[in-house]
């Protein structure tokens, strides 16, 4: 996996500051997402990771700075599971079909749309759940449903907000492999995470954020005690295991 991307720039953030109302969450962000990129935005809660995704997505305007997008860029977004209204009365099929809004005036799905939804659900291993209510799915299945909705749009860039938050070890493993496969197929992927060992250490490229960009590079380059202290505000120890950095709480600051 190349991680940093080698192709054309899809979205470029130049000197961007952003926030909500009078609150400033991000300052002076310079960041480019290219074709074939696979990046994790790493940082603690409240550091501005989701805000950065929203800037890339275009759902939030910067307070200052400029954002440049490739023409007709198709972007899909997978929300944080915790922010979804799971009581909303929709089935998996209705949820996935939701992303097909363009040039479609009638409410019901065409035969080709039904086939497309069935195909993407099948690919993600939840083909038999299409008529279930969204709350009846497990955490991993819910994540796959939103991935299915995102993939139905055939995006060039896929954004995921904390895709492994609140899911078990096996699901986290599955999601990572699924994303690696999508990246292999040529999709650019940017996700946010605060999970150092379970997620960040396994990604090809990381950007450490705490209201500004603290560091960026491969996990080997940025998962260091110095960068982690600058990002999370706490001293951590980093060990190496089979070439992968493993973060442990520093015994001098623990307790």
């Amino acid at each position: 996996m190349t991680g940093t991307g080698v192709g054309e720039a899809l979205v470029t953030l130049t000197d961007v500051s952003a926030g909500y109302g009078n609150t400033h969450v991000l300052h002076d962000i310079n960041f480019t997402v290219r074709e074939d990129q696979f990046t994790g935005i790493l940082g603690p809660s409240g550091a501005g990771k989701t805000t950065m995704l929203r800037l890339l997505l275009g759902s939030l305007k910067p307070q200052s700075g400029t954002i440049t997008r490739a023409p007709k860029l198709a972007v899909s977004y997978v929300p944080q599971l915790e922010t979804v209204d799971w009581n909303f009365p929709i089935t998996v099929f209705e949820c996935v079909l939701m992303s097909r809004t363009a040039r479609r005036l009638l409410p019901w799905a065409t035969p080709s749309e039904k086939a497309d939804v069935a195909s993407v659900l099948e690919r993600l291993g939840i083909g038999d759940l299409s008529h279930r209510h969204i709350r009846e799915l497990s955490g991993g299945q819910q994540q796959r449903m939103f991935l299915a909705r995102a993939l139905l749009r055939k995006p060039a860039m896929l954004l995921l907000d904390e895709p492994t938050s609140g899911v078990d070890f096996s699901t986290r493993h599955d999601v990572l492999h699924l994303l690696a496969d999508l990246h292999e197929d040529g999709m650019s992927i940017v996700l946010t995470t605060h999970d150092l060992n379970g997620m960040a250490a396994h990604l090809p490229h990381l950007v450490c954020v705490n209201h500004h960009i603290v560091a960026s590079g491969t996990p080997q380059e940025v998962i260091t005690p110095e960068v982690l202290e600058g990002t999370f505000g706490a001293r951590m120890e980093v060990l190496q295991h089979l070439g992968v950095p493993v973060v442990v709480e520093d015994s001098r600051t623990a307790g």
């Binding site: 989701t50 275009g58 977004y77 009581n87 909303f88």
Partner: protein, 289 residues
């Protein structure tokens, strides 16, 4: 049987029954979007705001009251949305200021100048007396318009209701869809105001949709059920209103409340669980930073 048919011999009751059924259906239909968006308070606020326009138009141009009060309602809805978006005033506070001021203006106009249309009490609690052909055609027109809008914009309305952020990112013009929804909501409130009454319209926006939510997990079925329940409440409420000699809106809402209790008894905790997130939908989709 003859008791049931008896009121049908009166033309005013036939018109009332038609308008009550259509009003219940229309409010039940559009109420699904209002309830699922956690915007029940907007229905409550708008009905009060429109009352101001209604009273003013009765005074200055009674024949054009639908146009004037409709415009008033749409402007109120847009003002509420704009104030709550662009300033530090929250939507609930914005509604509190804009709609109660408009309602107070309506009360003042009624008190000072009286009305050529329905009485103050009828405007508040609904009445089937004196329903004109214009009102019936107005209600039919608004119902057809609402059905057409929902039919043609079904997917974007669903997408922006469930997940506005992702809808925006997927190319849906969320602000435009919200303005469209606010417009048809204002027109629906206005068209049903005389039968259901200002103070009770909001209840009929909420009750059928909540009952439908207790009965199904599918959005499409919820729309159909809520429309059916609204129609039923309108029909039964109108009949009971005739026999009990109480305002039509009051009885329609009481029938809705009774249906709610029956469904609650049948569905129990499962039904209640399904309605649990209805008041917090907006917050749940916009908390992440």
């Amino acid at each position: 049987m003859t008791d049931i048919l008896e009121p049908l011999q009166f033309a005013f009751f036939q018109k009332g029954l038609l308008v009550a059924a259509l009003s219940g259906a229309l409010l039940g239909f559009i109420g699904v979007y209002i309830v699922l968006r956690g915007m029940s308070y907007i229905g409550h606020g708008l009905s009060h705001a429109i009352f101001g326009g209604f009273a003013a138009m009765q005074l200055f141009a009674a024949q054009l009251y639908i146009v004037g009060a409709g415009l008033w309602g749409v402007l109120s809805a847009i003002s509420i949305t704009a104030v709550s978006r662009r300033s530090r005033v929250g939507a609930d506070a914005a509604i509190g200021v804009i709609t109660t001021a408009s309602f107070a203006l309506g009360v003042a106009l009624f008190a000072k100048f009286g009305t050529s249309g329905p009485s103050f009490e009828n405007a508040l609690f609904g009445s089937i007396l004196g329903i004109s052909a214009t009102q019936i055609w107005g209600l039919v027109g608004v119902t057809l318009l609402t059905v057409a809008v929902v039919f043609l914009r079904y997917r974007v309305l669903l997408f922006t209701t469930f997940d506005p952020d992702v809808a925006q990112a997927s190319g849906v013009r969320v602000a435009r869809v919200e303005a469209l929804l606010m417009t048809i909501l204002s027109l629906a409130i206005l068209a049903t105001l005389t039968v259901i009454g200002v103070t009770l319209v909001a209840a009929m926006l909420v009750i059928p949709a909540v009952i439908a939510r207790m009965l199904t997990n599918s959005f499409g079925r919820m729309l159909a059920l809520s429309t059916g329940i609204g129609t039923l409440c309108g029909l039964v409420g109108m009949y009971l209103s005739y026999y009990a000699s109480v305002p039509s809106g009051t009885m329609i809402v009481l029938v809705g409340a009774a249906v709610f209790l029956v469904v609650l008894a049948i569905t129990g905790a499962r039904g209640l669980r399904r309605t649990a997130g209805l008041d917090s939908h907006r917050e749940s989709v916009s908390t992440a930073r």
